[in-house]
């Protein structure tokens, strides 16, 4: 996925400052119960497929678009596994740009196409059995994947804050 145009424009004004962006991540399970992972070219970690929303886009549509762009597969997102921020996950890119993400994790089923490397963001892509996940896996994505395997009837979230936490 190239850098979306509107992010490029904002970066011209804010430089490397922190941007907090809405993102989507796909837990794509095939009929054999395996989950699709791609090996990212930038950090070498196995990761779920995902990306950033465009202005005006529904999150589920953004997800299907990202999966299409990165793997040439069409998927049907059928449930939101969870909604998470990542307080410990400030991403600092090699060029110095800082980002944090609000992540909506979707369970998806593949409906057409076989996974292939469709852009330069990944160097490998394949399905893994849950009991044989690769070692070099993004730890947050591993949590999302395992949460997806539980696939509770409700959407997962995390909360700790009470008014007493306020200073």
């Amino acid at each position: 996925m190239p850098i979306p145009e509107y992010i490029r424009q904002i970066r011209q004004k804010i430089g490397h400052d922190l941007l907090y962006m809405p993102g989507v991540v796909a837990v794509i399970n095939n009929a054999a119960g395996e989950t699709l992972l791609q090996k990212r070219s930038d950090n070498g970690l196995w990761s779920l497929v995902g990306g950033i929303l465009e202005p005006g886009e529904e999150p589920a549509n953004a997800l299907a678009r990202e999966v299409w762009e990165e793997t040439a597969m069409r998927v049907h997102p059928y449930q939101i596994i969870g909604v998470y921020s990542e307080p410990d996950a400030l991403v600092r890119y090699p060029n110095g740009d800082e980002m944090m993400f609000l992540t909506v994790v979707f369970a998806c089923r593949p409906i057409a196409g076989t996974p292939q490397i469709a852009d330069d963001e990944s160097t490998d892509i394949r399905y893994f059995r849950p009991d044989a996940l690769p070692n070099h896996i993004d730890p947050r994505h591993k949590r999302y994947l395992l949460q997806g395997l539980k696939l509770l009837s409700h959407t997962d979230f995390v909360f700790n804050w009470t008014p007493d936490s306020a200073k």
């Binding site: 907090y20 944090m100 609000l102 979230f157």
Partner: protein
């Protein structure tokens, strides 16, 4: 909700340009089945409490904080009603600021606190019976309340890309 330090600093640099804004809304329903609404000071309309998520803040934490800040009510988030985006949430505020809001709406249960305007964002705060919601309730918020009352366990969302439609960048 006061504007966060993060948004204030970004706005100093980008002016009114479009910003992506992860946000939360809360459908707070008490034991009598009534729904907590606030009349907003910016447009005089009734709406559900909510606001922008601070970077790195868990969405469920953000709704507990926002409801507390705006209404003085402490809540526990019980489930995610829906995750909303799309063109309807591409908004321009009265001051010209443009934002693309992505809203996570939570169903919440109040645990303590008497509802009252708790900051300068609301003029009135009170519970309404679900069948007697105010006329001047923001239409989008009325639909989210309907979504919350439908009681589907998993979050609602909109998906309109199908294999028949070309996916374009």
């Amino acid at each position: 909700m006061a504007i966060s330090e993060y948004v204030r600093r970004l706005r100093e640099k980008v002016g009114t340009d479009l910003l992506m804004m992860p946000a939360v809304g809360g459908i707070v329903i008490n034991a009598a089945g009534e729904i907590l609404l606030q009349r907003r000071s910016d447009n005089g309309l009734w709406g559900i409490p909510g606001g922008a998520i601070d970077p790195g803040e868990e969405p469920a934490d953000a709704i507990v904080r926002e409801v507390w800040e705006e209404t003085g009510v402490r809540v526990i988030p019980e489930r995610v009603v829906g995750v909303y985006g799309g063109p309807e949430l591409l908004v321009r505020y009265p001051n010209g600021d443009e934002a693309m809001v992505i809203s996570m709406t939570f169903l919440c249960r109040p645990v303590s606190g008497e509802p009252h305007p708790h900051d300068d964002e609301s003029l009135e705060v009170r519970y309404f019976s679900a069948n007697a919601l105010p006329e001047t309730l923001i239409a989008r918020h009325r639909r989210r309340i309907e979504d919350a009352l439908r009681a589907t366990p998993a979050a609602l969302f909109t998906f309109t890309l199908t294999p028949d439609k070309e996916i374009t960048k």
